[in-house]
Amino acid sequence: MSSPQIEIQIIAAVVAVACAIPGVFLVLRKMALISDAISHSILPGIVLGFFITQDLNSPLLIILAALSGVITVVLVERIQKTGLVKEDTAIGLVFPALFSIGVILIAKNANDVHLDVDAVLLGELAFAPFDRLIMSGVDMGPKSLWIMGVILLITITLLLLFFKELKVSTFDIGLSSALGFSPVVLHYGLMTISSITVVGAFEAVGAILVVALMIAPAATAYLLTSELKRMLFLSIFFGIFSAISGYWLAHWLDASIAGSISTMLGFVFLLVYLFAPSKGLISVMYRQKQQRTEVSLLTFLLHLNNHTEEEERHINHLREHINWQKIRANTVVDLALKNNMISVEKELVSLTEKGKNFTETALDYIITNKDEKIEHLKEDFFLFRG
């Protein structure tokens, strides 16, 4: 590993962490798409800043661009307030317009601007180590590392200082304003930090992939935990992991680093999405199937409870009466037998003592719809589940 390679990985990891932290709050506040809007609409700010400073790394440019990000948020909120269109439409109207202005500004001045749209969309992480910060003749390392490092430091400081306030205002706006933390200040604070992070990161990973770095680690972590602190740590971990593994993927394929980082993010998300315990797709589907069987079992038992006539309780009749297919009916009958809820004699099904008790408790619940009626139901009765 050469030293530029190490530097690229460090920059990528720092960007990933800096994006992951505001990303968690954006996802929790259901504002994930604001990051998309910001990442597009900072373009005119960047272009204007570039005209003034002629330097992509100048702090003034970052401030101008972040300002245009905040303006986007304000504009979106203004349009929402008029009530003329829905919230998401407002987002969708504002950022393409601003982005178009940026693209046109670049195109009209193509000759004197060393800034092309591909670079804005994609970033050029591979070149980042060559733009070095020289202070009084001493090489201090890549410039973008310094910029992102400062942004990350600010983000972490603010996070530590205002963690409690952010937490309260994210989960309970009413409580937060009652306690005297202004949700508006926190909201715009978060928006400003997100804008600055997006601007700082855009050069490294590009405007659209910033969105991936913000949303994907947070969403992945959200599938694994419901605790804010753990979610923050997990998303930082996923961010760093994808950044570094993404770098090596790009190295191997000789392709865009930003593209492969987000591919890695996507891969990690997909794995977690499928296999996460309790919130992943597979466990959700398994649980839904189990619940379906449980409901079927209950229906079946209620049916038995309602009918004393023999023909209603004949095992073949049941199948057509409740309109189940053969396999499903067998599963349910088996389950009921295993749980000693029913007994079958000469193809006649009848409830056992336990089955009767169970059905009555369930009926109680259905009639009163009070949760305490079934709180102990599963422990008391269920031995096997589907």
Partner: protein, 374 residues
């Protein structure tokens, strides 16, 4: 080239005519289907789908090695549909909200697409140039067969729309009711989504991945301001879309270095801004005017009420009073006094005013009305 030259050339120049027709048809279909996206609160779905289409284009190229537009668009269609259904799956099966799901699909698919595109660019066969036109679109690459394809899809969408108009409309405004009536809501839903994806994919070549969502949204959002009727809205949106296409092409053709996509989007945004401000029913301007008028009226009536309060203590209603005694009253100015006089509620002689019979009745009625309400 100036605008007039452009319009003269439009009838003689083959390429220009193709491009203009293409963008017009594209604008029309996007406006038409965009109305549904906007009303279904799926505005940003278009953004996600257009980004999600990118890996499809790259994979289609990697598999076939051909640059045939239709093959690439087929790839885009497939990956756009996968993206759409993944969004649906994510929001129904997990606790992730729709904004997160949209953002994820948008950025992850796009990132994967960029990975593939850069991978393709490094490949030895030189046939790959031009794939990145799908990022920002290049209307200049439109050929007649593309326009025919667009027209065909637009026609198809129109027929389906007219055939299932009632179902679509019902589904749009009351999905539960539609279900209870026995319509196959899933089928209707998938049909609308499919056509939205199709429209987006068609627009990629012209407007590009990044700006496609605005094509879908802007005409519809503009049209929404002028009407409360679905049919009118769909029609207006198609018209707005077509005009944005034509004007956008005209402007970008007459200037150097202007790509068509961003210009079309800006023209469409101007339509939106204009509609937001000037539409008579919902526009900000008229709403503000109405608001002002109401407030003025209220203040006049408040002043009249005050005068009534003074005048009713006298036996003769029209007993003159000094204007000065109104001075402490909030909302009273010389102008309001004059306006009240114009309404013939009072008469002014010198520094004194007197309530007229008309003003007295008005004030008394107002009083009765408000006490009735209580």
């Amino acid at each position: 080239m100036t605008i007039t030259e452009y319009f003269q050339l439009l009838f003689t120049d083959y390429t220009l005519r193709t491009i203009t027709l293409g963008t017009a048809v594209l604008g029309a279909i996007c406006g038409m289907l965009g109305s549904f996206a906007v009303l279904r609160k799926q505005s940003l779905l278009g953004d996600a789908i257009s980004h999600a289409a990118l890996p499809g284009i790259a994979i289609a190229f990697l598999i076939t090695g051909a640059k045939d537009t239709n093959v690439l668009l087929l790839g885009a269609l497939i990956s756009g549909l996968i993206g759409t259904f993944w969004i649906k799956g994510m929001t129904t099966k997990t606790h992730l909200k729709s904004d997160t799901a949209l953002g994820l699909v948008l950025s992850l698919f796009f990132g994967f697409g960029m990975l593939l595109l850069t991978y393709i660019q490094k490949q030895p066969n030189a046939n790959q140039a031009g794939l990145d036109k799908y990022l920002f679109g290049q209307a200049a690459t439109l050929v007649v067969s593309d326009v025919w394809l667009m027209t065909f899809v637009t026609g198809l969408a129109l027929i389906i729309l007219l055939l299932f108009w009632k179902e679509f409309k019902l589904m749009l405004f009351d999905a539960d009711y539609t279900k209870t009536l026995g319509f196959n809501t899933r089928f209707i839903d998938i049909t609308i989504t499919f056509f939205i994806v199709l429209a987006i994919v068609l627009g990629l070549q012209t407007v590009g991945v990044v700006l496609m969502s605005a094509m879908l949204l802007a005409p519809a959002a503009a049209a929404r301001q002028w009407t409360n009727k679905l049919s009118v809205m769909v029609f207006l949106a198609a018209v707005f879309g077509a005009f944005s296409g034509v004007f956008g092409t005209a402007i970008s053709a007459t200037q150097n270095n202007l790509s068509t996509g961003p210009v079309i989007v800006l023209v469409a945004s101007v339509f939106v801004a204009f509609s937001f401000i000037f539409s008579p029913g919902r526009g900000i301007l008229f709403r503000q005017l109405r608001f002002r008028k109401n407030r003025r009226e209220l203040e006049l009536k408040k002043t009249l009420q005050m005068m009534f309060g003074i005048a009713k203590t006298h036996e003769n209603v029209s007993h003159p009073h000094s204007i000065k005694i109104l001075n402490n009253f909030q909302g009273f100015t010389k102008k309001t006094i004059r306006e009240i006089e114009e309404k013939k509620w009072i008469t002014i002689t010198g520094q004194e005013w007197a309530l007229t019979q008309k003003g007295f009745d008005e004030a008394e009625n107002m009083f009765n009305k408000s006490s009735d309400d209580e």
